[in-house]
């Protein structure tokens, strides 16, 4: 059971602008096991989505590029694969669900066509067989009138139905890794609850590993086994989900958890984190969170903290928990 499906090691992704390299990911590390849901949380601009695009190598039409590090999928380093080999993997071994079901389905193709396309390609089935498989998959995501739906266009469906179709597409070839980038953010709460329930069921059934990218701590608490917190292109904390909510270590994680208004909590003033996420062109020296951190010390502004082991399964990069001292510049 302890088999890592995916291992991301020291991943650095850059984008080029005006001959300049802008570092978006500055050394990201995490791994996902079979049947595990790993949550990737952080605010906009923390690099969550770029991490998922890096794993899929979906940089077409952008200046993005993986500069350093490795992404090992069952021992194969994805960063070394060419486009043709990536195509063999995408949709078959690794698939992805995007945030906007509206924009990620092709508006001029019928649902059936979009579904069978990848099934025909990856599973080497005849058209008739792949149609049958597509209908079966649609039924498995709770769509009752699957046969009719095959002949409809995306605009004829509601948001929740579109997201079900997206999930059906992603699950059709029974991938080993599913990357879900804010899969329910665009949906209403009652529909969100349906989709999250569905993802849980599918995971149980196929033992799929899920990388769930979200900014919603409620969704994280509901779905994930383990959580990775990102800030400014780095992992600042990683822990088991129960441990993370009961005993957050990094001041950023604490700030995030306390900023969320909770039902039943009669707090007059909400905690908030002052300031904004720094822009990648303008990264502070030292710890990237230091300018917003209420615990910041002198050394935080000068040196970047290393990742420290809090317990066997809890890691945090913050000077508060540093095991070794660092010499400060004499002022």
């Amino acid at each position: 059971m302890n088999e890592n499906v995916l291992e991301v090691i020291n991943l650095e992704t850059i984008f080029k602008r005006d001959q300049q390299e802008i570092k978006i990911l500055r050394g990201v590390n995490f791994s996902i096991q079979r049947g595990e849901v790993l949550g990737l949380v952080g605010e906009s601009g923390s690099g969550k989505s770029i991490t998922s695009l890096s794993i899929m190598k979906l940089f077409h039409g952008t200046s993005g590029e993986i500069k350093n590090g490795s992404i090992s999928f069952h021992g194969t380093d994805l960063t070394k694969l060419d486009e043709a080999s990536m195509r063999q993997l995408r949709g078959k071994k690794i698939s992805m669900i995007f945030q906007e079901p509206m924009t990620s389905l092709n508006p001029v193709l019928k649902i059936g066509k979009q579904l069978t396309e990848s099934i025909e390609m990856h599973m080497k089935l005849t058209r008739k067989q792949s149609t049958a498989h597509a209908i079966k998959t649609l039924k498995s995501v709770g769509i009752g009138r699957a046969e009719e739906l095959m002949n409809e266009y995306p605009h004829q469906l509601s948001g929740g139905m579109r997201q079900r179709v997206m999930i059906a597409m992603a699950m059709a070839c029974e991938p080993e890794l599913l990357i879900a980038d804010e899969p329910t953010t665009a949906l209403d709460v009652t529909i969100q609850a349906q989709i999250l329930e569905l993802m849980k069921q599918l995971k149980e059934k196929n033992d799929t590993a899920i990388l769930l990218i979200t900014h919603d701590l409620g969704v994280v608490a509901e779905m994930c086994d383990r959580v990775v917190v990102m800030y400014a292109g780095q992992v600042v904390e990683e822990a088991d989900v129960f441990e993370l909510f009961a005993n957050p270590k990094h001041p950023y994680t604490k700030g995030l958890i306390n900023s969320v208004p909770k039902i039943g909590d009669r707090k007059e003033v909400l905690d908030s984190i002052p300031g904004n996420v720094p822009s990648p062109q303008n990264m502070p020296q030292g710890c990237k969170f230091a300018p917003r951190c209420s615990n910041a010390m002198e050394k935080c502004h000068e040196h970047e903290p290393e990742i420290e082991t809090i317990t066997e399964s809890h890691f945090c990069s913050c000077w508060l928990y540093a095991s070794k001292e660092v010499a400060l510049h004499a002022k």
Binding site: G160, A193, F242, L256, K267
Partner: protein
């Protein structure tokens, strides 16, 4: 007893969605029957899912669109049917904060011009007086006064929302309609803005009509809450009553659907089945009956009336008393 600042009664808005001179006209009822009151210095929230008519209600009250029927009374005066030329006072008393801080600020105007504009329209202040007020307002919403000469694109989402709030406050309004003011913001920024809105309410005795889909945000900011479904309010209650003892099956489902940021409270959910019906073709009777776990024959036939159950809580459901038994 606080004064009633705004009273909305049986408000209805119908949009024409098809048809012309020779074609058959088709209508959609965005708001079917909405009644509520907002007392001075308090926050009333409208919650519901997309398409339930909460934003349309907000836009009707600011008279950005005209009501089909029903009444809107502000400080005792009917404002629902004022002519365009008579809207000056209303626009001064009722201001709006929008959802998208990226789309609601003019990219060609400097921050000080954006905030100053309502003063040019509504007051006869001199340029110098206006500028002083703008700088004061920047301070109040927590922005550096040095930012006055910058353009909106130079700011982050949270800062832009502060600019939007400054623009809304500068005419010294009584009522602010905030349409999803924090849903485009990250949580750490969201709480900054919610705290600011609360602070301003206390300092200036503002009333808010807060429109949101996010129940935890609504619980934090509201005094009273109206839950909307397909154009009608299905339950109105004080915050305490609504979250402790929700009565309408839809309210219950809505509250149960919110993911709780605590893994210890994780539970298998009774999710609502099915989708929100198309408002163009709403179900007969109680519009919620297609998804309601306790729906009976009667629900398909008859629209339930709003009934007051306790002093704090009214609900439109035929079987509210029987819910516990079913």
């Amino acid at each position: 007893m606080q004064n009633k600042l705004l009273q909305v009664k049986n408000l209805k808005k119908q949009f024409q969605v098809a048809g012309g001179m020779f074609e058959k006209k088709e209508f959609v009822n965005a708001v079917i029957d909405v009644s509520f009151e907002i007392k001075e210095g308090t926050t009333f929230s409208l919650v519901g899912e997309s398409g339930c008519g909460k934003s349309t209600t907000g836009r009707l009250i600011t008279r950005l669109i005209d009501p089909t029927s029903g009444s809107i009374t502000l400080n005792g005066n009917e404002v629902g049917y004022l002519k365009q030329s008579e809207l000056g006072d209303l626009r001064e008393t009722v201001q709006m904060i929008f959802q998208d801080p990226y789309a609601s600020l003019n990219p060609r105007m400097k921050v000080k011009e954006i905030i100053e504009e309502p003063l040019i329209i509504h007051t006869k202040l001199s340029k110098g007086e206006r500028e002083n007020l703008v700088l004061e307002m920047l301070n109040i919403v927590g922005l550096n006064t040095e930012y006055a000469n910058r353009y909106a694109h130079e700011f982050s989402g949270g800062q832009r929302q502060r600019i939007g709030i400054a623009r809304a406050l500068i005419t010294k309004p009584k009522l602010i309609i905030a349409d999803e003011p924090v849903s485009a913001l990250d949580v750490s920024i969201q709480s900054q803005i919610l705290n600011l809105l609360k602070k301003l309410q206390q300092e200036y005795q503002l009333s808010y009509l807060f429109i949101s889909h996010d129940l935890s945000v609504v619980e934090h900011i509201s005094n009273e809450i109206g839950v909307m479904y397909l154009g009608s309010i299905v339950e109105i209650a004080t915050k305490e009553a609504l979250f402790v003892n929700p009565l309408h099956p839809y309210t219950k489902a809505l509250i149960a659907s919110v993911p709780v940021a605590d893994p210890l409270l994780r539970r298998k959910k009774e999710t609502l089945k099915g989708d929100i019906p198309n408002p163009k073709n709403p179900p007969t009777g109680c519009t919620f009956h297609t998804r309601c776990p306790i729906a009976q024959e009667l629900c398909k036939l008859e629209v339930p009336k709003m009934r007051q159950i306790t002093e704090q809580q009214s609900v439109a459901c035929h079987f509210v008393e029987k819910i516990e038994e079913v």
